[in-house]
């Protein structure tokens, strides 16, 4: 009964999102692309922290690796981004695997593990800033073809095409998360998150399960990175690997409700729309108000953290009678 209701609501939401480009204008589409992109990344991060309890504060690393893998392959060899996504995901899974291996094998935990992820992200950012094959600090520009027809294979085209691509990607990650949560691995992850020692005592191979979480999360994040590269067409190491990207990426997941299926999506939409609203407001008050927008953002964040520590979604789910969702 409860599951049926959740499924019906989900289908309704999906239909609304599918129709959105026909109803709204270009501006709405661009905002929705941003919302969905952030929701995609928040879901990918949520696998590692929300499900398996391993805090990563350096996920921009995988966004950057994916973006540069897809971007550079296209720039140098004209490789389609869909192949770039596979390559980027493989590279990110490898790098995530190395970080996870080092961290878990050397017993780097909690705050220290989080700082390890920051260190790798920042290290790579500076490395790519001096990596001339991908443009170094002057950036990598993907060739833009005329945008009057859509080329889905090469991801060159109009905003509506990008919209459906990121909608598809977000939906795919949602389904992957849903599937895994119901599987043995999903239960292992949550056992580790709640009490790693107890999980180990039950005979769960915690090292393997955690490695799976890191590598899957990294690979999915990198796919998002490839989308980012082709949507923005310009790549700077400064911004692709930026610390603030790592932070923005996780805000949505935590605000929405970490460890739940729907929380990261809700949180990403809320924060993106809030940011957009504050930008509009700031523009109405004239320029020079960039700081005001960010202060407002910071204050609202403070309030949400103070009042809804577990995120917005769990409470909302109860209101909507959706407790049945496997959201623990």
């Amino acid at each position: 009964m409860a599951m049926g209701r959740a499924t019906r609501m989900l289908i309704g939401l999906m239909v609304a999102l599918l129709l959105a480009p026909f109803i709204g204008n270009d501006y709405l589409v661009s905002v929705l692309i941003l919302c969905l992109f952030n929701a995609y990344l928040a879901q990918a991060w949520n696998i590692m922290m929300g499900f398996a309890g391993q805090l990563s504060l350096g996920h921009a690393l995988y966004v950057g690796l994916g973006a540069y893998a897809g971007g550079a392959l296209f720039f140098h060899y004209g490789t389609p981004p869909w192949i770039g996504m596979i390559v980027g995901a493989a590279i990110a899974a490898l790098v995530g695997g190395v970080i996870g291996f080092l961290g878990f094998r050397f017993g780097v935990k909690g705050v220290y593990f989080a700082l390890l992820t920051i260190a790798f992200a920042e290290f790579t950012r500076i490395l790519f800033d001096h990596f001339t094959w991908v443009g170094g600090s002057s950036g990598l520009y993907l060739p833009v073809v005329r945008a009057d027809h859509d080329n889905l294979l090469l991801l060159r085209g109009r905003p509506a095409m990008f919209y459906y691509v990121i909608l598809g990607l977000s939906a795919a990650v949602f389904l992957i998360c849903h599937r895994i949560l119901g599987s043995r691995l999903g239960y292992y992850w949550r056992a580790i998150r709640e009490d790693q020692d107890a999980a180990q005592a039950l005979g769960i191979d915690t090292f393997k399960a955690k490695m799976a979480a890191v590598m899957l999360s990294a690979a999915l994040t990198a796919v998002g990175g490839v989308f980012y590269a082709f949507y923005t067409n310009t790549l700077y190491a400064e911004s692709a690997f930026a610390m603030h990207r790592s932070i923005e990426l996780i805000l949505g997941a935590i605000i929405g409700g970490m460890g739940t299926l729907f929380g990261p999506i809700l949180g990403a939409f809320l924060l993106t729309l809030l940011g957009e609203l504050l930008t509009r407001l700031a523009e109405n008050f004239g320029h020079g108000f960039e700081g005001v927008k960010q202060i407002g953002y910071g204050l609202i964040l403070l309030v949400i953290i103070a009042l809804r520590r577990e995120g917005v979604w769990p409470r909302l789910a109860k209101r909507l009678g959706l407790d049945g969702e496997k959201a623990s």
Binding site: M49, L55, L57, L102, F106, G107, V108, G110, V111, Y112, A114, L115, L116, I118, A119, F120, E122, F123, I126, L127, D129, H130, S137, M243, H244, I247, L251, I254, M258, G288, E290, G291, V292, K293, Q294, I295, Y297, G298, L299, L301, L302, I305, A306, R309
Partner: protein
């Protein structure tokens, strides 16, 4: 390249490193007592720099004279922040604390951006280019003064924790919170004093740093990360470790900036951090797990 020249770089790096150490000292003290990771540390550093800058600009005073004002101002900010905000989040999971301080950091950085604008601002001191000649070596006067003051303040903080009643009470809270509450210590107040002192150190560090570099709002994240690197390398919670870590980072920056590109200098700091995390997770001078 003469050995004197290399020694000169080493000395400059060490002196700058002492100021880094003072900044990291505050972070380390706050973590050591409350287990709170202050993600708004770089913001406080830049706050100290701006206080010193303002006083220099409006009254024409030497930033060194303004150091007590910067320290006091940051003490008040730190005390209030802990007492009325962070205190309610001592027991929550790390990621929630992290977000909380991040939100605080966001407010600070953008307040600086609004008030002072994005441009770099610095002070011009009459003795900015003075230097001492020790044999074949040339030592910057400004850098030497900054380093000496930084080490003095660090020593004072050490004395405070070792000798005074309040200092001992704070250490009691860090060692055994329940015990401290049982004997009737005002833990809330002591935590707030600790946060205030940590902030005062970083405020003083900021006033000193203004002698060496120009200030702009986007330095904040850099200093937060730098602070983390230093305290992890030295050992989170260890005060001498923070100074040692500061000097090591100062040295690595000076040499990397000279032999490679200046923009690559923090890569070495992050590389060093990764190595320390893996092989000595408690830091060079940290206590056992």
């Amino acid at each position: 390249m003469s050995p004197e020249f290399i020694l000169g770089i080493a000395i400059a790096g060490t002196l700058t490193g002492a100021v880094y150490g003072l900044m990291a000292l505050g972070l380390s003290a706050i973590f050591g007592v409350m287990r709170v990771v202050n993600f708004a540390h770089g913001e406080m550093m830049v706050g100290g720099m701006y206080i010193a800058y303002l006083l220099y600009k409006t009254m024409g005073l030497d930033p060194i004279m303004m150091l007590p004002v910067a320290a006091l101002g940051l003490f008040v900010v730190g005390y209030l922040l802990q007492r009325y905000l962070v205190n309610y989040f001592i027991e929550v999971p790390e990621h929630v604390q992290f977000l909380l301080l991040l939100a605080v950091a966001m407010v600070f950085t953008n307040a600086f951006l609004m008030i002072f604008g994005p441009d770099a601002r610095g002070v011009q001191l009459p003795y900015a280019f003075d230097s001492y000649n020790v044999g074949p070596l040339v030592i910057d006067k400004v850098r030497l003064i900054a380093a000496v003051i930084a080490v003095l303040i660090a020593a004072l903080l050490g004395l405070f924790f070792a000798k005074t009643r309040t200092g001992k009470a704070i250490r009691a809270c860090a060692d055994n919170l329940t015990g401290a509450q049982v004997v009737g210590l005002d833990v809330k107040h002591l935590y707030a004093v600790t946060f205030g002192l940590g902030a005062a150190c970083v405020g003083a560090g900021g006033a000193l740093m203004l002698l060496l570099v120009d200030v702009h709002p986007h330095l904040t994240t850099d200093y937060t990360l730098l602070g983390f690197i230093i305290v992890i390398i030295g050992g989170l919670g260890s005060l001498p470790g923070a100074l040692l870590g500061g000097v090591l980072i100062g040295l690595s920056e000076a040499f990397a900036g000279f032999f490679l590109a200046a923009s690559m200098k923090s890569m070495f700091a992050f590389g060093l951090l990764i190595l320390v995390l893996l092989f000595r997770p408690n830091g060079l001078l940290g206590r056992g797990a």
